[in-house]
Symmetry: C2
């Protein structure tokens, strides 16, 4: 998906919500377990219910891999079901030496038709370059993550700046704001002004709102740029809003709340 199309979708719909399909089999409503593929049945209902309120879906590959081949089948069905109007992210956090990253890029951009994949920066340029070589696809590199462990390395001093700052600054030269985004956790709101100083133009994928406690207001005020420039992901707080047969309606209601709030910030 071209950047212009993403920005248009955000502005036309008034939402920069990404719904995270962390569809843990053990947490989906009991009545769905009669389906041959309960996770896909769940995802399909969630997608149908939330489509109007978001511009993107993010599939967390771990929740699918943990179920082996069956999980991979749910993943393939789900990504095929998401309409092309929506930006499809594989949250896979891959990255390896060049010839191996080439295979991961093939997995997510060819075998599965994702628009974007998340990538870890530790191994440097040749671990990221193979993803960037795909036209019309996006590489989303980990910058400052939303978890506690972000203090262990990301926030540590590295040659006169924080490691995550070095990562943002260095990696930003390997691509451009049309094929490269960065992960910046919503729980790190106090760093967002700093992040925008380093990356005024890039889109940021922002997890950590909802269950993890990040404030949508805070990060919207601090991180938005003229193109909006943020995709805010909410997973558990939306998809597991309800546990009964009304789960999709309940998910839709929460997504609609985020949508309403986002409309205000976009004005």
């Amino acid at each position: 998906m071209h950047r212009n199309r993403l920005v248009e979708a955000i502005k036309n719909k008034g939402t920069y919500l990404c719904v995270g399909l962390d569809s843990d089999l053990s947490k989906i409503p009991k009545h769905l377990h009669v389906h041959p593929d309960p996770v896909f049945a769940f995802n399909k209902a969630i997608i149908d219910a939330t489509l109007d309120h978001c511009v993107s879906y993010k599939i967390n590959t771990a929740f699918y891999e943990s179920r082996g081949i069956k999980g991979w089948e749910s993943l393939e069905r789900t990504v095929a079901y998401i309409p092309d109007t929506h930006f499809k992210i594989a949250d896979a956090k891959r990255g390896d030496i060049g010839n191996t990253s080439t295979q991961y890029a093939k997995a997510f951009f060819e075998t599965l038709n994702f628009d974007a994949v998340t990538v870890a920066p530790y191994m440097g340029s040749d671990s990221i370059q193979p993803f960037l070589e795909y036209e019309k696809k996006w590489t989303i590199v980990l910058g400052l993550t939303s978890n506690k462990g972000a203090t262990d390395f990301e926030m540590q001093e590295a040659g006169g700046e924080k490691l995550y700052e070095k990562v943002l600054r260095t990696v930003s030269h390997w691509g451009n704001p049309g094929n490269l985004m960065f992960v910046a956790g919503a729980t790190q709101a106090e760093e967002f002004i700093n992040i925008r100083r380093i990356l005024p133009e890039h889109f940021l994928l922002v997890p950590g709102v909802g269950f993890q406690g990040g404030s949508l207001k805070d990060i919207s005020e601090k991180a938005m740029n003229k193109d909006c420039g943020i995709l805010v992901n909410v997973s558990r707080a939306i998809i597991f809003a309800g546990e009964t047969e009304n789960f999709a309606e309940e998910a839709r209601a929460i997504a609609a709340q985020y949508h309403e709030e986002m409309k205000q910030y976009l004005r």
Copy 2:
């Protein structure tokens, strides 16, 4: 697999070779393509042929994921086929926030019965802890990798030391030499004395010998400890040694050469 068993296997057989099953469908011999699962047929033949000369197999998940469900099937069949005498490594380079890393750990330690999985350190302690919670399983954390991109961040200054040194030093306290190994690339031989100063006891998984040009002699001299303490991985130079119907014999011959050389260094 318990550390004692791994050390015994190395000393009894006189080899610390790990064969890397980077089994790219496009590179396996033509005549195997008639099989319903050509990659598994290839791996099975390679495993049968090299079993006597190695103590470990490493499956590079990227080469399987790139083929979608079919690839995942080849992966499951392959890991199930490797006998329990051999240390089974998933080279997956995973790592995410806690609840997600828990799912990755489940994928590789439960759904697939690997002994070990490689993990990226960038996201810190809670991204690694869920792997370490499995008894009798191993977490292999990226330290200093074998690729060019290692200079971008791993070798950069980070608070008075190199980033990879900080990673080795910090992560070593999160587990112990019985459940934690580190990746140290063979192309970085000049750093091995330094690595051993930080980690005198831990096993190191050493990729980069063979196709990538690292010297087995160099790293064996510099990195061995009293328990051997290294697993040297060779992938392409062994598995793609031959292209004809004799491919497995040719792979065996190369593995046997490494075995002979390793016997000398173990003395």
